[in-house]
């Protein structure tokens, strides 16, 4: 065993009580860091999940498409359309080639063509305005996998099959197998058979979204062979804006990322992150001071032994390393305790804060990366905290250290 490591372990063992207390302190600190990180991380993940669960990361439109109210990008603002004279949807030019190009981009995981417009759903005397979405089921599953969100039936859009949300079904008294008439502007109209009901976890969307095949969408929207938007998913959700700008630059299409459409949410998340970082920073400082003060005391207590070691040929930098190692060891061992504590706290919290049905409100984000980062941070904290005491030990005058009993 390395001499320095041997001595570091001995010294830590000799200072049993101090070692145990500071380890408890480090564990508490690291536990808090893990708990807060997991909590904030999980919360943010769940917020983003909820936001992006039904949204494409980037939506592409024809360049001269006029501005729509942004908040209703998804819902194809029906009222606006009704008040204005019916206007022709524009198609994205040469969209099949665009799709191929998009899918070739390394940052893009999925791209799907969509015909989106507003229509009326009629059933007997009841009618509702709906957001019609003509999609290609195959590629659309990369954007939003509706198959996993079905409560009834199948996700079948062949022929004149249609998939509607559970809320609309409730409102119009529909179930799988029933028929439903959709009427689009300029009185284009078609009768569809319901093949499935979905629930995307958003009441509004469950009421307004209806999915038909791309071809039926094109027919109803009078967009023969065209698509009104292309929806894109990216690998790293926080690179969505960058990706959008690159696509815009390359194609001239209007490209909106979820980040510009949810900028307030993003600001909120960033604020949350920075306060979490602040808390962690001060916890680290406190842990560092704790380690430093324990080792300062240890250097004083071990003065005689250090003097003996120096008298018998131990070099200054060896003494320095003995104490740096103690800091590092305390950090690493303490962080292992902290991982256990933080994990326990996070899981406990998760079990306390739950929905009525017992499922957690949001899952805490306990990841291997978080654990690894915590160990690393604790190691560095230990080394930095040990630096001054170690210097002090190394510079100790051996003649003074061994003089008096």
């Amino acid at each position: 065993m390395r001499f320095e490591l041997h001595m570091a372990l001995r010294f830590l063992k000799e200072g049993r009580m101090q070692t145990a207390l500071i380890l408890a302190g480090i564990s508490t600190g690291v536990g808090v860091i893990i708990f807060i990180s997991a909590l904030i991380g999980g919360l943010q993940e769940s917020i983003i999940d909820r936001t992006l669960g039904t949204q494409a990361h980037v939506v592409l439109r024809p360049p001269d498409d006029e501005a729509r109210p942004q908040l209703d990008r998804q819902r194809e603002d029906v009222l606006e359309h009704i008040q204005r004279p019916a206007q022709r949807l524009r198609s994205i030019l040469n969209w099949p080639r665009l799709l191929t190009e998009l899918r070739r981009r390394p940052g893009v995981t999925a791209a799907s063509p969509t015909v989106a417009g507003s229509a009326f759903a009629l059933r007997g005397t009841a009618n509702r305005s709906v957001a019609l979405r003509g999609v290609d089921p195959e590629s659309y599953s990369g954007i939003l996998d509706l198959r996993t969100r079905l409560t009834e039936g199948t996700f079948d859009l062949t022929g004149t099959h249609i998939v509607v949300g559970v809320e609309l079904a409730k409102e119009l008294g529909l179930s799988v197998g029933d028929t439903l008439r959709l009427t689009a502007p300029e009185d284009r109209s078609e009768v569809f058979t319901i093949s499935g009901l979905f629930d995307v976890g958003n009441k509004d969307l469950n009421l307004r979204w209806v999915f038909v095949s791309l071809r039926e969408g094109q027919t109803l929207m009078n967009l023969s062979g065209g698509v009104s938007t292309v929806e894109v998913k990216v690998r790293d959700i926080f690179s969505a804006e960058k990706e959008a700008q690159e696509i815009h630059a390359a194609t001239g299409l209007k490209a909106d990322s979820w980040m510009t459409l949810n900028s307030e949410l993003l600001t909120g998340l960033r604020g949350q992150s920075s306060s979490s970082v602040m808390i962690q920073f001060f916890v680290i400082v406190a842990v560092m001071l704790g380690i430093a003060s324990v080792l300062v005391v240890s250097v004083i207590q071990k003065g005689r032994q250090i003097g003996i070691l120096r008298a018998f040929g131990t070099r200054r930098e060896q003494v320095l390393r003995i104490f740096l190692l103690q800091g590092g060891l305390l950090g690493v061992v303490g962080s292992l305790g902290g991982i256990m504590l933080g994990t326990f706290l996070a899981l406990f919290f998760q079990s306390m804060v739950s929905n009525q049905d017992g499922t957690p409100l949001f899952p805490v984000a306990l990841t291997a990366a978080l654990y690894a980062r915590s160990v690393l941070v604790a190691l560095i904290t230990g080394l930095v905290g040990a630096w001054l005491p170690a210097r002090r030990a190394a510079n100790m005058d051996p003649a003074v250290a061994i003089r008096y009993e």
């Binding site: 065993m1 001499f3 041997h6 000799e14 003996i308 120096r310 008298a311 018998f312 040929g313 009993e405």
Partner: protein, 244 residues
């Protein structure tokens, strides 16, 4: 005596401690210690014996004057150089044994070797055990030193001082804290190592009987060496008795 047999040579060494009033503790000391010698250093309390020993042992630097070890001037050496030279050429035995309390006897003994190479090797343990056996501590090798008697601890300290096979061992009142019998025994062991291994010893002692049994006696008084003569035994005895 020719120069080549000198282990250690001090010339005009002065030492003052800085303070409100700077006090000079050593006033121009000349000492020469040769290979294989067994030398006593005596003198009243506060006369500067420990200070001198620290300078001889490269634990402290003189304020002026030169220290030569094995013909090499140490004045210009930095701390690392001094440490290396100290580790290889000088062993220490302190008045209070100064062992590492939580270590076993053999660990204390091979510690200087461990510090020297950085890695443990089984030969170190073998060598430590050999020395402990020679100093009558067979069977105590793996006992923590805190559970040894004062005399046994001092013998462990002697074994430790010898483990690097240094040409010189500096012993500051090694028997001062022991009863007469253990003091005698400890002294005998040092004398024997001196004879068998040829290690030189410089021994600070307040015991005139022990000083008499050394090859040479250096007497320090108020920071000056006043007597380097073994012939005036009666004077010395008188002086030492008066001191007590």
């Amino acid at each position: 005596m020719n120069n080549s047999s000198a282990i250690l040579q001090l010339q005009q060494v002065r030492k003052s401690y800085p303070g409100a009033v700077s006090t000079e503790v050593l006033h121009g000391i000349d000492i020469r210690i040769n290979h294989g010698e067994f030398v006593a250093l005596v003198g009243p309390s506060g006369s500067g014996k420990s200070t001198l020993l620290n300078i001889l042992g490269l634990l402290d630097r003189p304020s002026s004057g030169t220290v030569e070890i094995l013909g090499k001037d140490c004045t210009g050496l930095d701390d690392a150089g001094l440490t290396r030279l100290r580790g290889s050429s000088i062993g220490f035995v302190f008045q209070f044994h100064h062992l590492l309390p939580s270590f076993t006897a053999e660990e204390n003994v091979f510690l200087p070797m461990l510090a020297d190479t950085g890695h443990f090797k089984p030969e170190m343990r073998t060598r430590a055990r050999g020395l402990l056996a020679r100093i009558g501590l067979e069977g105590f090798e793996t006992r923590p030193v805190s559970r040894l008697s004062g005399g046994q601890q001092q013998r462990v300290a002697i074994a430790r001082a010898l483990v690097m096979n240094p040409p010189l061992v500096l012993a500051d009142e090694p028997t001062g804290n022991l009863d007469r019998a253990s003091g005698q025994q400890t002294f005998e062991f040092m004398r024997r190592f001196n004879r068998e291994l040829g290690t030189a010893f410089l021994l600070v002692t307040h015991d005139p009987g022990l000083a008499q049994r050394c090859d040479r006696i250096l007497t320090l008084e108020d920071g000056c060496l006043i007597n380097e003569n073994k012939s005036s035994e009666a004077d010395l005895k008188g002086a030492l008795t008066a001191m007590r």
